[in-house]
Amino acid sequence: MSPPETLVDKLDSPWLGVVLGVAAVLGMLTVNVLFLVWLERKVSAWIQRRMGPTEVGPFGLFQTLADMLKLLSKQLITPRHVDKPLYHLAPLVVFVPVVAAASLFPFSAGLVLQDLDIGLVLVFAFGGLAFVGIFMAGWGSNNKYALLGAMRSVAQNISYEIPLILASLSVVLMSGTMNLAKITALQSERGYWFIVLQPVAAVIYFIAALAETNRAPFDIPEAESELVAGFHTEYSGMRFALFFFAEYSNVFIVSMVATVLFLGGWSGPLLPGPVWFFLKVYALVGLTMWVRWTFPRLRFDQLMSFCWVVLTPLAILNLLITAFVARLV
């Protein structure tokens, strides 16, 4: 029951620990998101035989930072007839759960801000909260594309959450714990990654995660050719930036969950823990980018029936077979 020593325990004052820890997690997330956006632009450019950003910094590395500063000095346009409380609070409601979820991950042995017995459930609980902010943005904006985008976005998010969680529960079944640090330690101890025993769950998780993060081929909610920009059409300046930040953080978070569940988290030979952790996360992120710029977009009805008719039954079946096999051996 007693959790291992965490960052917070090592400091004299728990409050100072929390503030420093959150600042560290937020800094980590910001740096990674800035890098991720740059990477996305470079990867897409590479796939489409373009150059991508080249101007700011070496290889255009500071392009996103410059974009961030630009957005900070832009006008915050509030359209007429918006539902004021909903419209103004929506970016914050989307932003907070994402960072809170990111603070639960173990980056190395003992390097974890909040070590919870049910960390995995809490990550999914925070992920499920995204719908509140999306609804508020879509409804508050007084724009038909924003509202339709929000409805589609929420319908898709909630649908794909089911196979996502069911796939990760197959791993929980084998590890017997939902503590993210313990799941990692177990894989390090046993000397194999859970993807070896749960390849089907890993594939289901990956597909569902693409849909959860609204990325192509599942990016119907923000299909720019039919819905402008989806639920954040009417947002400008830093309000837009917060949505954008949350979106890329989500990509990062689902990759971190996959790393912990299927790829052994920080465990690996020679290199220190955090290096392994981020290497694996970026391998997964790279895969999602490759998929995004390669596959065409699905239709909304295909999207929904694929989830409920194919993915969810498959995930349930995989879970039950895992339980059955675990009984036999």
Binding site: M238, M304, L320
Partner: protein, 127 residues
Amino acid sequence: MDPNYAPYVSVLACSIFVLGLGAVILILNYMLGPRRPTREKGIPYESGDEPHSKPRQRFSVKFYMTAILFLVFDLEVVFIYPWASKYSDWLKDDAFAGIAFGGMMVFVAVLTLGLVYEWKRGAMEWE
């Protein structure tokens, strides 16, 4: 503070901190950015056209069907959480392992019937 809930208080503190930070960012943007509202900036964005229907239409009942399915499967998942995390311990007790497996099997089978029913009724066909 009790070690049982200290980490949760820390999660709470973390959320409040991030909320404050987000608010500060928005206020900063409000102070730094220009404020020159015009009529055109205020109309709902429809790629340059004047909006020509009310923004808040009614939606298909299919969305409700999806939400029902999600609700039921979310509850299924919630019941599987404790089961999955305890299952490997139960396997050591031969007498109980069968009950644990069979019990969850029946539960999942019953809920899958709901999925099949909704599918057969065509609730999942988006036209």
